[in-house]
Symmetry: C2
Subunit: 514 residues, 2 copies
C-alpha cells in the first residue's frame, strides 16, 4: 500500500464543479432534445475491435487509449460472426482485447452496426436505405495521453449528438444551429462564440485540380495546413515544400517536397480566405475559382445549401461563419466540418492574456460502420467538450453562484437531537434542504465554519433555553457574510442578521428568508 492519491490526469469533482458540469449537460441536452434527438447510453468498456482506430495521430490500436485483456475466455469469431474452430473442431478461445471508450462516436458506430448486423447478413439493408437514428449521449471518455498538457485530463466528459442514416445536407446546417443554440442555452453570450464551417471536399477538390489524388498525400497536406495556428502561414509553406528549422528547438523538420508552383497555388488559395468575410462573399470567391472537378463543385454547393438554410433562419455571421482554411484533425470527416471557437481571452494564473480556442467540433463522416458492415452509412454530428467548456466558464468568471448548501441546524445539546430531527423533517416537507450538524457538539465556531464551507444560507440555533421557551434563533448566514465587511460592531451585526422566532412560526419564517 502506498499513499492515497488519484491517477495522474484524473480528478475529483466537488459540488460546485458538479453544479457547473450538470448545468452545461442539462442545458445542451434540452436543446438536443428540442431538435428531436433521443437520449442513448452505451457501455464505458467495449471490444477494442468494435471501437476501431479513430484516434488522431495514433499508429497502433492501443495507442492513446486504456486497453487490456478481458479476464473472460470467449470464442474467437470470424468476420461473419461464426465461431472459429481448430483442426480438431474445438472452438478456439481467447481473451478479447477491451478498450475504455475514447469518444462517443465509435460506440455509436458499434451500436448502429449491431442493430443492422443480422439484417445486413441476410442482405436486407442496402447503402442509401439505412434507418434514421438521431441520438444524443453524454458521459466520460478516456484518453491515455503520454504527455499531459496543463489543463488537460485523461478522463473527461463529452456531450454528443449525431444524425445517422441520411446524407441530407440540411442536417449539417442543423448541426451548426444546434451548437449555437446549445451554447446560448448554457449561458454563452452571442459575442463569445463563433461556429466555423468548412467542407473537406473543397480542399480535396483544390488538391484534385492540382493532380494530388493519393489519400496519403492529401492527409499529409491537410495535417500541415491544420498546423497554421501554431507554425504560421510561412511555416505551412515551408513544410509543404523543402521543410524548415524549428526556431525554438533548432530541429530540422522535413518538408513534403511539393513543387514550388503547387505550394504557391495552395498558399494562394488559403490566403484568399485568410480574412474573415461574409458567407456570401466566401461563396462568391469559391465559385469564381477556376476549379471544376466534381468534388470541389459538391463542396461549394453543399456550403451554399447550408448558407441558404442558416440565412432563412437568421443564423447570421455573428453566429456562423465559413472558413475554407479550416481542416480539423480527425481523418474520418468526409464533408462539412464544424468547429466552435470561444471568442475572447482570459488571464492565466500569471496574469497573462490567453486565447481559449476550440470548444466544440464535429462534421460529416460516411465511413462510420464501413469497417464492420462493409457499406457506407452517412452520418453527421458534433460534440461539446463539457470539461473544457466548464474550465472556460470558470476562467472567464461566467460560472453560476457557488452551489447553495442546506439550512443548518446547529447541534448544541445531545438531548435535543430528536427535536432537531423533528424540525429538520418538518422543513423538508416544505422542500427546504436541511442538515442537522453531526460533528462534535457545543463548539459553535466549528459548526459555523462547516456551514460557511458548505455555503449554507441560514442557521437555526436552539439550546436548552430556547427549547424550554418554545423559540428558535435564526441567523441569516448569507446576509451575515455580506454585512461582515460593513459592520464592525458585533452587537449591531448580530441584531441585523439574527432574530428569535416562535417555534410554531419557524417553517414560515425560513420559507420567507429562502
Amino acid at each position: 500500500m502506498s499513499y492515497p492519491r488519484k491517477i495522474k490526469g484524473f480528478r475529483d469533482i466537488d459540488a460546485n464543479m458538479n453544479q457547473l458540469r450538470w448545468k452545461i449537460i442539462n442545458s445542451a441536452a434540452k436543446v438536443y432534445k428540442k431538435y428531436g434527438f433521443e437520449h442513448y447510453d452505451t457501455p464505458v468498456l467495449e471490444y477494442s475491435e468494435n471501437l476501431g482506430k479513430y484516434l488522431p495521430d495514433s499508429e497502433e490500436l492501443a495507442e492513446g487509449v486504456y486497453s487490456f485483456n478481458n479476464p473472460e475466455l470467449e470464442p474467437k469469431f470470424d468476420n461473419k460472426g461464426a465461431e472459429i474452430r481448430d483442426e480438431r473442431n474445438n472452438v478456439v478461445m481467447e481473451n478479447h482485447y477491451l478498450t475504455m471508450r475514447y469518444d462517443l462516436t465509435a460506440p455509436l458506430a458499434r451500436l448502429y452496426a449491431e442493430s443492422l448486423w443480422e439484417l445486413h447478413k441476410h442482405k436486407q439493408v442496402q447503402e442509401g436505405k439505412t434507418p434514421l437514428l438521431r441520438r444524443y449521449q453524454y458521459g466520460q471518455v478516456f484518453r491515455f495521453e503520454a504527455k499531459l498538457d496543463p489543463g488537460r485530463f485523461r478522463e473527461f466528459w463529452q456531450l454528443d449528438f449525431d444524425t445517422v442514416g441520411t446524407d441530407d445536407i440540411t442536417t449539417d446546417a442543423e448541426a451548426c444551429m444546434i451548437l449555437a443554440d446549445a451554447l446560448e442555452e448554457i449561458g454563452l453570450k452571442r459575442d463569445n462564440y463563433i461556429v466555423k464551417v468548412n467542407n473537406r471536399k473543397i480542399i480535396k477538390g483544390l488538391l484534385i485540380s492540382l493532380e494530388i489524388t493519393e489519400d496519403a498525400d492529401e492527409q499529409n497536406i491537410m495535417r500541415i495546413i491544420d498546423k497554421a495556428d501554431k507554425i504560421g502561414m510561412q511555416g505551412v509553406a515551408q513544410e509543404l515544400g523543402q521543410g524548415r528549422v524549428d526556431e525554438k528547438s533548432k530541429a530540422k523538420i522535413e518538408g513534403l517536397n511539393i513543387d514550388n508552383e503547387i505550394v504557391d497555388q495552395i498558399m494562394g488559395f488559403l490566403s484568399d480566405f485568410s480574412e474573415i468575410n461574409t458567407r456570401a462573399n466566401i461563396l462568391e470567391k469559391l465559385n469564381s475559382k477556376n476549379i471544376d472537378n466534381q468534388t470541389y463543385t459538391e463542396g461549394v454547393s453543399e456550403l451554399t445549401k447550408i448558407d441558404e438554410i442558416l440565412s432563412a433562419l437568421n443564423f447570421d455571421e455573428n453566429r456562423v461563419i465559413f472558413d475554407p482554411t479550416m481542416i480539423r484533425g480527425m481523418g474520418y470527416y468526409t464533408g462539412p466540418i464544424f468547429e466552435v471557437e470561444y471568442v475572447g481571452t482570459y488571464k492565466d494564473s500569471k496574469g497573462r492574456k490567453r486565447k481559449v480556442g476550440s470548444i466544440c467540433g464535429g462534421g460529416r463522416y460516411d465511413g462510420l460502420v464501413e469497417k464492420s458492415l462493409g457499406m457506407k452509412v452517412p452520418a453527421v454530428g458534433a460534440s461539446i467538450g463539457v470539461d473544457r467548456l466548464a474550465e472556460i466558464l470558470t476562467l472567464t468568471k461566467q460560472t453560476p453562484e457557488l452551489a447553495q448548501g442546506p439550512v443548518i441546524i446547529i447541534a448544541f445539546d445531545d438531548n435535543l437531537m430528536t427535536e432537531y430531527q423533528k424540525i429538520a423533517y418538518e422543513l423538508r416537507t416544505k422542500d427546504i434542504e436541511v442538515e442537522v450538524y453531526y460533528g462534535s457538539r457545543k463548539n459553535l465556531k466549528k459548526q459555523l465554519s462547516y456551514a460557511d464551507k458548505k455555503n449554507c444560507p441560514i442557521a437555526i440555533l436552539i439550546g436548552e433555553n430556547e427549547f424550554n421557551n418554545g423559540v428558535a434563533t435564526v441567523r441569516n448566514l448569507k446576509l451575515g457574510k455580506e454585512l461582515a465587511s460593513q459592520i464592525t460592531d458585533k452587537k449591531e451585526w448580530r441584531e441585523r442578521v439574527q432574530s428569535e422566532v416562535k417555534r410554531e412560526n419557524l417553517t414560515e419564517e425560513i420559507l420567507k428568508m429562502i
Copy 2:
C-alpha cells in the same frame, strides 16, 4: 475484425430506459440533497491499491474486478508517500495496477484519505476529530462476475450517500429515513418496500457470550446465517454443526463443527426473531436476553436510539422494521446495517411468480480509511441499485409512460426543406420539441412508422398545395393510436385525428394540443 457486438454483461440504454434511470437518479438525488448531502464525483479508474479489497467473497485483489497495468511508468512509493530508490539512488519505476471502480465507497475512502493525507502525515488529525463530509454520488460501477446470472450486469449504476467523520448514531437513523423518502420520491408505494435494520454488534455480542471471539470464526458463522434465505434454518444449523448434503447436487458441504449446544443457542436466538414483530417488542426481547458483554449492550442501545428517532418522526413499522437475524454479506460493516426489501412479486417471462428481494443496502463502517491512514474514521452510508430498481419497476409495470418523441414535420418536398426548418424553429422558440424528417422523402408510411417508433405526439404535413394555400395539416398521432382500435372507417378516423390549420395559427394550435 469480427462482428459488431457488446461485451457480455454490458448493454446499451435507449431513450425509455434512460428516462427511467434518470427519474430514479434525480428523485433520489433530490432527497439526498434535502438532507444536506453534496454532489461529488470521482474517477472511473483508480490505483488498485487505493480501492483496497472490499469486494465480498474475493480472495485476490484483482478478482471480480476489471484491472490492468497503467500504460504509464511511474515512481514506486512507500507507505509514507516517498519515492523508493534503488542501490544506485535511481527512482524505482513501475506500471501501477489500475482498477475500474467496483463501487462508490472505495473511491470515497480514497478521496477522504487523500484530503487528510498531508494533515495526517504531520500528525494534525486524530481519531475522533475527523472532518465531517456528507456527499452523494451516482455513476457506473464495474464487476467482473465470472458466472453471470440472468438479469445481472457487469456495468451497473449505483446511487450512494455517506456521512463520514462522525459516530453519531442519529446518522444511522437518518440513513433509514433517507432510503424510505428516496424510494417514495422515486414512486414506490409505502406497501411495496420495507427498510430492515439490524446491528452487527448484536450477533457479535451473542457470539462473545458463547466465547466465540476469533474474527475468522465470527465471519464464518455470519456467512452461514446470511445463507438462511437459500438453505433454510435447518441448513444453517447443519452447516454450523456437522455439515450437510446438498439436496440437488448431492455434494457434501463441510460444517463448522461447532458444539451442538452452542449451535442450539445460536439457532434459539435466531428463531426468537423469526417472526416479524414491532420494533418495541424486538427491543424488549433483546433486552431480556441474558447477555451482558459491552458489544451486545452497545448494539441494543444503538438500536434503541434509532427506534426513538424513527418513532419521533413517525417512521413506523410500515416503513422501517428491526430484524436481528439479518447479516448482509459485506464484511466491513461494524455497527448498524440496513437493507431495503421490495415487498411484492412479479411474473417472470414464463409466468412464474418471483420474489424481488433486496434493492438497497448500507450500514456503518469504521474501517474506511484504516488501511491508508492507519486510523479509524467512522462512516455510515447506503446505496440504491439504480439498474436493479429500474428492472423491478419495469417488471412490476410501474414505469413512467414511454419517453415522448418530438412533434414531427413530415418531409414531402425537397423544395420545402427550408420552410420545414422555419416552422420547426418557430415551434422550438416556444419550447416545443420538433424534428424535421430527414430520411427519404415522399414515402409517408415510412415517415409515420418512424414517428410511431419515436412516440411522436403530433405530425405536421405540408405539401406543395398546403404551402401555396398557406395552411398545414396537423395529425394528432397520440389520439390516432387510441382511436385506431375503435374506429375502423378510415375517413372517420382521419376526420377525428386530422385537421387543417392556417399557417399563422400553427404554433398556437400545436401548443394547444401538446
